[in-house]
């Protein structure tokens, strides 16, 4: 039998410190899926836009611009050159001088004022009084004071997504809505993941009467209408941001628990669970060390389905007015608002919808990719 000991199958492996776990193999498969990778990149971009974007804008999400109510989206700054010209003309008129030339460059303007008498430099106050102009100073005096060249700042705002009916910048609001929607999506999914996995694994592993009772409880919760549950909780606890996670998590974990229980029933017949039992591990140790890690494939896939579902649910709640409160907002609330103004201000609907749809698409592609990577049925 000694020649058998040199069988090549037993030859020591080439030195390799780390093995490749199933997860790293799955990631390799995932990386070869173009749609899923594109989806991940889009998700990262949307998340960056939502969470980092507000740092690059000097508008606050609740800042009201009374002069720009329901302004359509535009890439050029507001107010436009003609509006400024008009504003300057009326200001100059009040100061009883003539406007000889007026130019705007970026955030500053230069105007040449003329009059028959020497002009009092304090005339600039008339200009400052207008909303649009600030810090007007005399730069040059010509023709013995009959001509003043003045400079100053122009307050101009960019509204690439337009503003809403209260005069708030839609770009910043879409960013904020993204923050809340993504946070609700991720956190509520994690809540449902945590409860569902532990509950399902426990029910499935213990089996028997405990399983029966635990799953009947799940079915009772299933039979309660979702909206009813939400209204009930809102009435009891008042509306709060945390409640949204809890309500959605409390509904979504039911599906997760069922999926995990099904997986567990299959897993507990596997021999490695029997081996753990014969080593003397306790039930909870087996659930934690063997059952839960092995359900991770289907669970991760299911989470990518839950996240868009939760975002939709939150939108639905916000649409009904049970979600986040103004001035906070979410994509769902923005879309609801946009839908009310679809005729007068369609951009209020279009921009949040684009982000919402793109995010859901990306999540679904990522979910498909993960499913293919973690559940390779063709092998």
């Amino acid at each position: 039998m000694s020649d058998l000991a040199q069988m090549p199958s037993l030859a020591p492996h080439a030195p390799e410190t780390r093995g490749r776990s199933l997860f790293s193999l799955a990631m390799r498969r995932f990386r070869r899926n173009r749609a899923a990778i594109a989806g991940s990149i889009v998700l990262v971009l949307v998340a960056l836009f939502s969470f980092v974007g507000p740092l690059f804008s000097d508008h606050a999400y609740d800042q009201v611009f009374p002069s720009y109510v329901s302004v359509p989206p535009s890439l050029s700054p507001r107010p436009g050159a003609e509006t400024l010209q008009g504003a300057m003309e009326s200001a100059v008129q009040r100061a009883r001088v003539r406007l000889e030339s007026f130019t705007v460059e970026g955030h500053s303007f230069t105007a040449t004022l003329g009059a028959d008498q020497p002009i009092d430099p304090r005339t600039t106050r008339y200009i400052d009084r207008a909303n649009e102009f600030d810090d007007t100073t005399v730069k040059e005096t010509q023709e013995d004071g009959r001509k003043l060249i003045v400079e100053g700042r122009v307050t101009r705002e960019y509204f690439p997504f337009g503003t809403d009916s209260n005069g708030r910048d839609l770009l910043v609001r879409v960013m904020l809505g993204g923050q809340i929607s993504i946070a609700v999506g991720v956190l509520a999914s994690l809540v449902s993941l945590g409860i569902g996995v532990v509950y399902g694994a426990t029910a499935g592993y213990l089996g028997g009467r405990i399983d029966n009772v635990m799953m009947r409880f799940v079915e009772i919760l299933y039979s309660l209408p979702f909206v009813f549950l939400v209204v009930l909780l809102v009435v009891f606890f008042g509306r709060s941001f945390i409640l949204i996670f809890l309500v959605i998590g409390a509904v979504e974990w039911l599906d997760m628990a069922r999926i995990v229980r099904g997986q567990t029933l299959a897993l507990k017949r596997r021999e490695f669970v029997g081996a753990a039992e014969s080593l003397g591990l306790s039930d909870w140790q087996i659930i934690r060390r063997h059952i839960i890690p092995n359900t991770i494939g289907p669970v991760v896939v299911f989470v990518t389905v839950i996240v868009p579902k939760v975002i939709l649910l939150e939108s639905f709640l916000s649409f009904l007015g049970l979600g986040v409160q103004a001035p906070l907002t979410s994509w769902g609330a923005l879309i609801a608002e946009g839908a009310n103004n679809i005729q007068s201000a369609p951009w209020l609907l279009i921009f949040p919808s684009i982000f919402f749809v793109v995010t859901l698409f990306a999540l679904n592609f990522v979910g498909d990719g993960l499913r293919d990577a973690l559940d390779p049925r063709d092998r």
Binding site: M1, L4, S9, F23, F272, S278
Partner: protein
Amino acid sequence: MMTSDSNTAVEAETVLTVRGLKVRFDTPDGPIEAVKGVDLDVKAGETLAVVGESGSGKSQTMMAIMGLLAANGRATGSALYRGREMIGLPMKALNTIRGEKITMIFQEPMTSLDPLYPIGRQIAEPIRHHRGGTAAAARARVLELLELVGIPEPTRRIDSYPHELSGGQRQRAMIAMALANEPDILIADEPTTALDVTIQAQILTLLQSLQKRFGMAVVLITHDLGVVRHVADRVVVMRRGEVVERGRTADVFARPKADYTRMLIEAEPSGEKAPPAPDEPVLLEGRKLRVDYSTGGGFLKKAGLFTAVHGADIRLRQGQTIGLVGESGSGKSTLGRALLKLTPSSGTVLFNGRDISDFDRKAMRPLRRDMQLVFQDPFGSLSPRQTVGEIITEGLYVHEPQLSKAERDARAVAALHEVGLDPSARNRYPHEFSGGQRQRIAIARAIILKPRLVVLDEPTSALDRSVQGQVIELLRGLQKSHGLSYLFISHDLSVIRAMADYVIVMQAGRIVEEGETAGLFDHPCEAYTKALLSAAYSR
């Protein structure tokens, strides 16, 4: 077809000619050459055995010919069936040959039959597809076929679903399906591996008689040289995708040319174990052990009762190896689990002189380190998400929680050394190892706690013969160095003979015979033991 009528086989026409067949699988790690240029000839009416261990490409060769490769596989080369090229043939054209002229039966009859349809309908399917005709005519033909393959009460069985048949009957139904169109070539891929020894013999006899009757060629893919020696006219030995030896069966067995063939032939487990000294203490004793399972039952329905073990008595002494033999369903594994208190049972269990019959899980926990279990399936018994290091140190985590990480690691290295694995294996995952290596890992997990008793539940059944030999050597060595007692459960009598000093034969939950190994093998008393022995050794 015996080797004696070899003259006719020489003159027979060649029905299948395979030349330079290569099979490649594209995997994330790059292409894998599963078959590297195989040449084969199958002559009309002969039995050709393709022999090799798992991974030798013997099945993939046939799958490639039949166009059944997995989606990432590609076949090149040539396979001519009576002059018609089969490789690269479009599906429709291929279907005029396969299922009609060349048919196939598989290893696992349960998974190759569709559980949703009665077997009669499944057997009729190829008949109606290839020949047309009415449903009534097809049914008549199915009845005829069922009779032919020896299924009792064919008129009743024709409407049975696969789960209502036993393993042997299912395999017979598969054979009936394969024979439905009177093929030229029957490819049998490990047709008896999943069956009990006595049934194996029946199926092989059936195949031989059917072959005589229909005059078809049989390509038998197997790893079991006992089967080959008995049924095949010619043998092709494959290893790692290449043919290493071919020739008449008698020649190959008498004068193997390739080292690999010689190794395969000599890989039958050998040696025997001396019984322990009679004054060794009894380590484990079971008295009148009875295991009942409730079957079915539900919310309002009363559950039925099935008795898996009827009052078994067993005494295992220190350093002894008891071989527990029986066919599937005989209750041998259940008895092993009941002795370890892993299955609820009635009766008395004494471990090391202490009555542990009433111990619950918690009370058993401190005793677990002394009694370990090794399973049959080295693929299922290791958690795929843990590294080998985590797997084998799991017992330490329970029984010696005070150990530091470094101490645990040192124990893991020592255990891996002991089972003959490279210690660097502990950072890798089970799926990176072969079956034999995984079984070594499972053994390492059992011995790291330095137990006194190990129950081995078919530890070698899922392994190739040559690897089996190594695992048996390993188990023997460990027994010697640690003074272990084994309860060795197996259906494989040659392994039992090499491992055990005392044998217990079980049938339908009862111990039918027991005795010292040599005595029992040489002079079996009970008819059942005789049948088992003759089925295993007469082949």
